[in-house]
């Protein structure tokens, strides 16, 4: 209903305008008081440093997107804690309180030297200067330690320092552009708000940033060094305990359990080819030899028998022709002497005619003698044609043939004897090989029973060696990491601290506060107006009067400065 609405609007404006003086006064008073307070209040200035946290990422970052995001978040949160840690704040405040003190100056110079060195080195790498770097770093570490001692002293002695530290902690804020979702960005900002001149805020922010970076590097170096140190200790312990023990166990086994060190070869053979196959390989070697000897032996015996069977009985004389085992014995050489077997003995002719073909071929002497005999026979025949039996030349030839035949017989006996000896040698050899085969087989059996244990030990040693190799690799990477960490600055300053504009303090924000105070003043004034109206018991309008009294308002007279009547 427009009438009602307009009436109520009129009502509202009446309430306000009826006390416009007071309303304006309240607004003006609140705004003015705030403005005055802002102008008079001690000013704080804000200075900030922006960092880029460059996470070391050796792998392809897209390959482990999720974990990387998460770790970045953790990383930046950690930096947040680090910046607002007691150590960093206390160091900063100690320097800020007295920048001209010897400790503060030494620290500034030492870190300046480190930064200058790093800058030089990054432009011109020179490993020969690592010694210099160590010296510079040592100086820097010492200056930090001195700073920490100074902090300790201040904490103990200066009560106002402790109070300042508490206040300072409240003035430091770490912000990330992404707000709560800090993993969105690798940027973070330290903001320091300090009362006093703008330069002080700048100084505080700058010192805080430096101290933070120092602390970060310090922690990084410590953690890297510790991990390498730990790895080294572990590797030593491993070498001493597991690896050496495995080696000793194997050595003990070889020395004490095996009969000879050469058994290791068998064990190796067995572990390579398996128990059964290894055994067969060893046994076959002996059996082949035995077969070979058997063949040789058989041929020797055969040859001997063949020879002996052809020889005439007269050669044995009074000796028995066969031995106790039924074998033909070799006739003694005495039985072939000229007395026992004269040249004219018919056995000479008999024996020679049936010399085994093998013997003629194989025995060079027999062969030559046979040839000689044939030649002599041919000569004799020629002589017999010409001369009579009694002719001397014929008799000589006949004698020579007989001698040659005796020689052949001697050779044949010798041959048989040699065969006999060879056979006995082969037999002995055969026996020996059989014995060795037995030995080998026994040894093999025994070694096989040790194989499991040997393999166990061997395996253990292999595992220990592998583990040792892995640990060595770890140590190497830890050492490499340590070197990298010591060098790599993964925190870099994007925006250094600046001296804030003297006209724009962080607190108080005069314009904002005054505007807010104006708003508050308006609200207060309105509240006052409506409250006053509510508690006002006078009547304000004609309608109100008529409503309240039930009496018509017959007239209304305005306010006239000079009164109604003049």
């Amino acid at each position: 209903m427009p009438e009602n609405r307009s009436r109520s609007l009129r009502e509202l404006s009446r309430v306000l305008f009826a006390r416009w003086l007071m309303v304006l006064f309240i607004i003006a008073a609140v705004t003015g008081a705030t403005l005055a307070a802002c102008l008079k209040a001690p000013k704080s200035y804000r200075s900030s440093v922006t960092f880029l946290a460059k996470e070391p990422r050796p792998q392809n970052p897209t390959a482990q997107q999720v974990s990387t995001d998460r770790s970045l978040e953790v990383f930046i949160k950690t930096q947040n804690e680090l910046i607002t840690s007691q150590t960093v704040l206390a160091r900063t405040l100690a320097v800020l309180r007295n920048p001209e003190s010897a400790v503060a100056k030494e620290w500034m110079e030492a870190r300046e030297a480190v930064e200058q060195f790093d800058k030089d080195r990054s432009s011109n790498r020179d490993s020969a200067r690592d010694k210099d770097r160590e010296a510079i770093l040592a100086r820097f570490t010492a200056s930090l330690a001195a700073l920490d001692r100074e902090v300790d002293r201040l904490m103990k002695e200066a009560a106002d320092y402790r109070e300042d530290l508490r206040q300072f902690a409240k003035k430091v804020k770490v912000k990330t552009p992404g707000g709560e979702q800090i993993a969105l960005s690798e940027i973070f900002t330290i903001t320091v708000t300090m009362p006093g001149p703008p330069e002080r805020a700048w100084q505080a922010a700058d010192l805080l940033a430096r101290n933070y970076v120092d602390r970060y590097r310090q922690l990084q170096a410590e953690s890297g060094g510790k991990s390498a140190e730990f790895m080294r200790t572990r590797l030593d312990a491993f070498k001493r305990e597991r690896l050496a023990r495995a080696e000793a166990a194997l050595r003990d086994f070889v020395e004490n359990e095996l009969e000879s060190p050469s058994d290791v070869g068998i064990l190796e053979q067995l572990s390579k080819s398996g128990t059964e196959a290894g055994r067969q390989i060893v046994v076959r070697r002996f059996q082949e030899e035995l077969i070979d000897i058997d063949a040789q032996l058989a041929s020797a015996v055969q040859l001997k028998r063949e020879l002996l069977e052809q020889l005439p009985e007269v050669l044995w004389g009074k000796d028995p022709r066969t031995g106790p085992d039924g074998e033909l014995t070799v006739p003694r050489m005495e039985n072939l002497s000229e007395e026992a077997l004269p040249d004219t003995h018919p056995a000479l002719i008999e024996a020679v005619t049936i010399i085994p073909e093998d013997t003629i071929q194989n025995n060079v002497v027999v062969n030559q003698l046979k040839g000689k005999e044939v030649a002599l026979l041919i000569e004799l025949n020629r002589l017999q044609v010409e001369f009579a039996e009694q002719y001397r030349a014929v008799r000589d030839k006949q004698m020579e043939i007989a001698r040659t035949r005796r020689q052949i017989l001697r050779e044949l006996v010798a041959e048989a004897s040699a065969r006999d000896i060879a056979a006995s040698i082969l037999r002995a050899r055969q026996n020996e090989i059989k014995t060795r085969l037995d030995q080998e087989t026994r040894r093999l059996d025994r070694t096989t029973s040790l194989l499991v244990r040997y393999q166990e030990l061997q395996n253990e040693l292999a595992v220990a060696r592998e583990e040792y190799r892995r640990l060595s690799a770890d140590l190497a990477s830890a050492e490499q990491f340590q070197n990298q960490e010591a060098d790599a600055i993964t925190i870099s300053i994007v925006d250094p601290a600046r001296v804030p504009d003297a006209d724009r303090p962080a607190f108080p924000n005069t314009i904002l506060f005054t505007v807010i105070a104006g708003g508050v003043g308006v609200l207060l004034a309105f509240a006052y107006a409506f409250m006053a109206d509510h508690f006002d018991h006078t009547f304000r309008t004609i309608g109100e009067a008529e409503h309240y009294l039930g009496v018509p308002v017959v007239g209304s007279i305005g306010r006239h400065r000079s009164g109604l009547v003049t």
Partner: protein, 237 residues
């Protein structure tokens, strides 16, 4: 003084035989329209007979009742209306009419009530018309005598006999019993109230007192009215 009227019951003098007083008193021009309207509202009633004797009073002191009464009398007596109007000051403790209208304080109501004589008041010759003013009288009079209804009634009747309207300025209702004494003797009571000053409770109290005294409350006059909202704004709302 020869301005004193002789006490004669019959016949009453047709016009007051008083030496006229010239006065430069007039209504503030800016207020004239408002007073004219008020006059019209009170005395030109189509429904019932227009009241002849009216008490103008306030619930509390300083409501501006005396000025309103004087202004009404001046309007009624002005040439435009041409009524014969008597303005009577019954505010016996703190009389103001005489000084407001520029007439001598005596003879006045107090004298009339004390002596029982009828008085004709002072004839005031204005710039436009003339008016009878009956001041409160000498201040050493007896305040208690004011409540003698018979004498009051006689005085009012006397004044009505040769005036068209009698306007009585009376002290505030809640502080003084005069109005209660007069209420039943007049045709009605006009209650003057100051905007944003007079409390509603005081008005209700005054109304109750008037009704208890069997007076007729004609209406309320809003005095020193303010328009807090500026006109240009108010017209747009």
């Amino acid at each position: 003084m020869d301005s004193k009227a002789s006490i004669a019951v019959t016949p009453p003098p047709p016009t007051p035989r008083l030496e006229p007083v010239r006065s430069a008193v007039g209504i503030t021009p800016a207020a004239r329209d408002e007073i004219e309207q008020l006059w019209g509202s009170v005395f030109f009633s189509a429904e019932h007979k227009a009241p002849r004797s009216v008490i103008v009073t306030g619930a509390e002191p300083d409501e501006g009742a005396t000025e309103v009464a004087a202004a009404l009398a001046l309007v009624g007596a002005s040439a435009r209306h041409g009524h014969r109007v008597a303005l009577v000051d019954f505010n016996l403790r703190e009389p103001m009419v005489a000084s407001l209208m520029g007439v001598p304080e005596s003879p006045g109501v107090r004298d009339a009530l004390a002596s029982g004589e009828l008085i004709g008041g002072t004839n005031v010759v204005l710039q436009e018309g003339q008016l009878t003013v009956v001041p409160a009288g000498r201040p050493d009079g007896h305040a208690s005598a004011a409540v003698d209804p018979e004498r009051v009634q006689r005085l009012i009747q006397h004044l009505l006999s040769y005036h068209d309207h009698v306007i009585v300025d009376a002290p505030s209702v809640n502080r003084n019993s005069t109005v209660q004494a007069l209420a039943a003797l007049t045709d009605g009571v006009l209650l003057v109230a100051r905007q944003s000053v007079t409390r509603r409770e005081a008005l209700a109290e005054a109304k109750k007192r008037i009704e208890l005294a069997q007076g007729k409350l004609i209406g309320l006059v809003l005095n020193m009215r303010k328009f807090p909202v500026p006109g240009f704004l108010y017209r747009r709302m």
